[in-house]
């Protein structure tokens, strides 16, 4: 198969195009989940919170102002076809796209270049980029602008194989309950199971890029997702932690093969401002 010469400017331009709309227009899947939540919610505080959040989506979209002031850290998943050759540095191209997109749409610059010295980089770079090689000559770009109020409530555990499915359930429920109002519920829950200490966290993050309501392709895990969502929504945390039915909008699981000694689990929490986009280049 012929090698495709891939202009990295395509990546830069795609990222630049995504930043503004990601911040101002909630994805259709999230909006629908929130509207459904507002229909079935019975907590009095919860009902007014959900109404406010739906109003907020409308204001943001019409007035071109970010839905949330935390316009996030850019997380990119790049699935690169084996027959692709980049004509330049894709990491630099992505960061240039972030730089232009965040500046041109007047988004918040939220990144410090060093975790302890803490000086703001001023252009929201760098993005967090994870690359996976896949067959073909296309590049699939998954873009998330991840807020960190919710990120800070995420957790990882190395369970014992004997802990099994119920152990994973307890860990996810405990994480969602402890996150409480800090994570800006209604939340979206990404769960990674398997792999290793490092890979399980990435699997949980990747799970967050899935549309809310889109079930796992394996019926066993699709059932587990539904049952975890029901359990989380019995905690009563509710929208903004004020009490109610809607603590989470969806649960997405990603699994990985793992070692005979291990049952890693990671729970990555997203808020209701679950910005995610995908484009095939």
């Amino acid at each position: 198969m012929a090698i495709r010469e891939f202009q990295v400017d395509l990546l830069r331009d795609a990222v630049e195009r995504m930043c503004g709309p990601a911040a101002c227009d909630m994805p259709e899947d999230v909006r629908q989940a929130m509207e459904e939540a507002a229909r079935i919610e019975d907590g009095p505080n919860a009902r007014s919170v959900l109404a406010e959040l739906l109003d907020n989506y409308q204001i943001a979209a019409t007035e071109r102002i970010p839905v949330c002031q935390d316009t996030g850290m850019v997380v990119i998943f790049l699935d690169v076809g084996l027959d692709v050759h980049f004509n330049g540095d894709p990491y630099q191209a992505i960061n240039e796209g972030v730089r232009r997109g965040y500046r041109d749409s007047s988004l918040r610059m939220s990144i410090v270049g060093d975790p302890l010295r803490r000086v703001n980089t001023g252009d929201n770079t760098p993005a967090l980029v994870s690359v996976r090689l896949v067959p073909g000559d296309r590049v699939t770009l998954t873009f998330m602008a991840k807020g960190f109020g919710s990120e800070n409530t995420s957790r990882l555990a190395m369970l014992r194989p004997a802990d099994g499915l119920e152990g994973v359930r307890r860990f996810v429920l405990d994480t969602a309950a402890k996150a409480g109002p800090n994570a800006c519920p209604p939340i979206v829950v990404g769960v990674g199971i398997g792999g290793s200490f490092d890979q399980v966290a990435l699997a949980a993050k990747r799970a967050l890029s899935r549309d809310t309501g889109q079930a796992h392709s394996d019926p066993f895990y699709a059932d587990f997702e539904r049952s975890l969502l029901e359990d989380i929504n019995k905690t009563g945390v509710g929208p903004q932690g004020l009490g109610g039915r809607t603590t989470a909008l969806s649960v997405a699981i990603e699994v990985l093969p793992t070692h005979i000694a291990a049952l890693p689990v990671a729970c990555n929490i997203n808020c209701h401002v679950a910005r995610h986009m995908k484009e095939v280049l």
Partner: protein, 193 residues
């Protein structure tokens, strides 16, 4: 925005007013508040520890934990919802001792903050997290008054009108983050234990 069941309140306000507010009260807050989050709190505490005067009067002040997005289209400010308050907990008791009366944020506070709130007579409000566009409309003026180099984390004086808030923790330590979910669970009966 204004509806039944809302209490109108003007910031700054005094201890007597603070002690009259109850966990669960819905508030429309107007007046002057100051924005401060992680990096700004660190600077304020360092300055107080050196014995210098703060850049704004702490007595009866209300701090809004927010790092706004840039202002556009003739607005006073960009998207401006609350950030997680617990990151400010290490600094907060000292500010309450100096007269801080109210805090606007979202999320839990630790025991040392709640204890200082009870002792000094202060109140913790939540604004709706993730409602930055809606809350932006209630901010009429925004002016950076210190630490401009911190960008979004600079200290700003805001003039606000009818910002919708909920009293989460009152001066007696009652906490809606405990009472609200418990009340909902009780309405669900045995089904949800």
């Amino acid at each position: 925005m204004a509806g039944p069941g809302f209490i109108s309140l003007e910031a700054p306000f005094d201890e007597t007013k603070a002690r009259s507010l109850r966990s669960g009260d819905r508030i429309l807050l107007s007046g002057t508040v100051y924005t401060l989050r992680d990096a700004g709190h660190k600077r304020l505490i360092e300055l107080l520890n050196r014995g210098e005067e703060p850049p704004f009067p702490l007595q009866d002040a209300v701090i809004y934990y927010v790092g706004p997005s840039p202002a556009t289209g003739g607005r006073a400010i960009g998207s401006a919802g609350p950030t997680t308050a617990s990151r400010m907990d290490p600094y907060t008791p000292q500010l309450l001792e100096r007269g801080l009366r109210g805090m606007i944020g979202k999320g839990y506070r630790d025991a040392s903050v709640i204890e200082a709130m009870k002792r000094m007579g202060a109140v913790y409000f939540a604004a709706t997290g993730g409602a930055g566009a809606l809350l932006s409309r209630t901010i009429l003026q925004a002016e950076v008054i210190a630490w401009e180099d911190l960008g979004t984390e600079a200290l700003r004086r805001l003039t606000i009108r009818e910002m919708p808030l909920t009293v989460i923790i009152d001066s007696q330590g009652r906490n809606l983050y405990e009472d609200g979910p418990r009340a909902w669970r009780e309405t669900q009966g045995d089904e949800n234990g």
